[in-house]
């Protein structure tokens, strides 16, 4: 078995290392097994390392929004090594297990929380043909895995033997289970449009990004992914003024660090999933298909960079909202979901399904642009109707609180006048 070192280096640089290795060792099952383990290891390690970057960026950007400087001492300039210092600090801290904790629930919870976040990255297409595993039910897999993360929160809240932790877990579960509904319904819309549940299929179908087709669905998905990751303004799972730190009140040191890392990884994945489902993922005007002479897949690097930039923009929106909006109350969160998001998404899903079916029956050879325009028009109509309905409703609410008084005909005054 001869491996050309130059080809090996080249494949490592253009992200096709494991494809190359698989072809080279195609006839050796043991080697293939080891390669598969390496794939899993690298897929799991990269998001964990990214947490350092994401955490630092978030602290820096949030600080700027709040007119502060943010971390600026550790690691030379700009506080670049702040997150490294934080992790070292967490690792050296004592892990305090509260008296009366239910160890069977307390100990696995942070591991499960991190695991469910990392597992999601298996189905994220980084570039054409660069993906952990191209499942044909990838979106279903994502939903299944993220539904398990609720269990981790419940275990943490129960196992801590602390009322604040338990209350936080109840809130978290109520919020996560509720917002799963609009999230599933809104991601069904791009699945309908792409006729595919695989993440690669979703990306390949987007000659025009789906956000142009269905901006309202994209907005609903964005809001519910905010709620699913427990980000501001939906961060009442850890509202420190009400329930200390929520379900992870009793976790110290690196145990808390695992929850934190899991949360950041889930946020990164949600940003990447939004880019994949609505912004065209790794696609960048066909540049992601470039192959240089000598078989160097430059396009893979461009594709990965495109996905990274798109996700970064979404992540910036996450940070912006966190820096701007105050926190909702519990009843507001649940009302907003069940009385607004779910009905809106249901209407949207029905409209898109029927409209797309009609387009395909009546105009089988319509171009993507025409299809996009029709869907866009229906979406804007739905948005306009929604805003009008909301406006009237809020007007009624305000009138109920402070009824308009007709000064000319106040009954008491008229009575007094008659006497």
């Amino acid at each position: 078995m001869q491996i050309d070192p130059i080809q090996l280096l080249q494949s490592a640089l253009d992200l096709t290392l494991f494809t190359f290795l698989r072809e080279a060792f195609a006839d050796q099952p043991t080697a293939l097994f080891i390669i598969n383990i390496l794939v899993v290891l690298s897929l799991a390690t990269v998001p964990l390392l990214m947490v350092f970057v994401v955490g630092w960026v978030e602290r820096k950007v949030l600080a700027r929004m709040q007119d502060r400087i943010g971390p600026n001492r550790v690691g030379g300039r700009y506080g670049l090594l702040q997150m490294v210092a934080d992790v070292v600090k967490m690792m050296t801290k004592e892990v305090i297990i509260p008296a009366g904790a239910d160890l069977w629930a307390y100990l696995p919870a942070p591991v499960l929380a991190l695991m469910t976040s990392v597992l999601l990255f298996a189905v994220l297409p980084l570039a054409p043909a660069v993906i952990g595993v191209d499942l044909n039910v990838a979106v279903f897999y994502v939903l299944a895995i993220s539904s398990v993360s609720v269990v981790a929160i419940l275990l943490a809240g129960w196992g801590s033997n602390n009322k604040y932790a338990l209350l936080g877990a109840f809130r978290a579960v109520a919020q996560l289970v509720s917002y799963e509904v609009p999230m599933i319904l809104s991601i069904l819309v791009p699945i309908l449009l792409a006729r595919s549940m695989s993440t690669v299929g979703l990306v390949e179908a987007q000659n025009i990004p789906f956000i142009v087709f269905v901006p309202v669905a994209a907005l609903v998905f964005f809001v519910s992914s905010l709620a699913e990751t427990g980000r501001s303004p939906f961060d009442l799972l850890e509202a420190e003024s009400e329930i200390v730190a929520g379900f992870h009140t009793e976790y110290t040191g690196m145990y808390f660090g695992l929850f934190m890392a899991g949360e950041y990884i889930a946020i990164m994945f949600m940003c990447a999933l939004f880019s994949t489902a609505f912004l065209g993922g790794y696609r960048f005007f066909g540049l992601e298909e470039i192959v240089l002479e000598g078989g160097f897949y430059l396009g893979n690097l461009i594709g990965a960079a495109a996905l990274f930039v798109k996700s970064a923009v979404i992540f910036f929106l996450f940070m912006w909202l966190r820096g701007t909006l105050p926190r909702f109350r519990v009843d507001q969160v649940l009302n907003f979901n069940w009385k607004f998001m779910v009905p809106l998404t249901l209407v949207l899903l029905f409209t898109v399904a029927i409209l797309d079916k009609l387009i395909f029956t009546w105009f089988p050879d319509m171009t993507d642009i025409g299809r996009a325009l029709i869907h866009l028009a229906s979406n804007l109509l739905i948005a306009a109707i929604t805003i009008e309905v909301l406006r009237r409703r809020i007007q009624r609410q305000r009138q109920a609180l402070a009824p308009v008084v007709d000064i000319e005909h106040v009954p008491e005054l008229e009575q007094a006048h008659a006497h």
Binding site: F33, D102, W104, A105, L135, N136, V137, F140, Y141, L143, A144, I145, S147, V148, V150, V151, L154, L155, W158, V173, V177
Partner: protein
């Protein structure tokens, strides 16, 4: 023994052991946790059988929904910290009867089919066909020639359950007003 067989033994062992723990543990919350691990083991078995869709459905339905429902019910209905009473009730005889009957039935079927080719040779279904099976399932669920009627009936049943739940949970209005 291949790696797959070792994995099968580990996963099925885990499933069985946690399954036994579910009915023997005295702490009800721990029993619920053990049940969750047992469900996870079943999902692992599905993955070993190349049934990825089924495994994801198992995760979503049994762990993401049913286990959480059960844990919530356990938390809200029992004094958890004091609940150390025995999980056994007086129906051991009935349980034994059911278990023996089920065991006899399954062993009968397996011994009858043991020499049949379906057990002797592994089914060699290419993954493209397996993928098509999931697609076919989806198409059949909404096809008038297949399962659309049961599908709609099931959704009607769910709707009725939803309405019933809302009716039960609705705050009682005062008769006077």
């Amino acid at each position: 023994m291949t790696g797959e067989q070792i994995l099968f033994l580990v996963i099925s062992g885990l499933t069985i052991v946690t399954g036994i723990l579910v009915v023997t543990l005295r702490n009800l919350f721990h029993a619920a946790l053990a049940m969750m691990v047992s469900f996870l083991g079943v999902a692992g078995l599905y993955i070993l059988l190349d049934a990825g869709f089924l495994a994801a459905a198992q995760l979503l339905v049994y762990i993401g929904a049913i286990s959480i429902l059960i844990i919530f019910a356990v938390m809200l209905t029992r004094r958890m910290m004091q609940a150390q009473d025995t999980p056994f009730n007086g129906q051991a005889g009935m349980g034994l009867f059911t278990a023996v009957i089920t065991f006899a039935l399954i062993s009968f079927i397996i011994t009858r089919l043991w020499r049949q080719p379906i057990f002797a040779t592994p089914l060699d279904v290419p993954s493209e066909v397996m993928d098509q099976i999931v697609v076919q399932l989806g198409a059949d669920l909404v096809s008038a020639n297949a399962y659309v009627i049961p599908f709609i009936v099931a959704s009607l049943l769910l709707l009725a359950a939803l309405i019933g739940a809302i009716y039960v949970a609705w705050p009682q209005e005062e008769e006077a007003s």
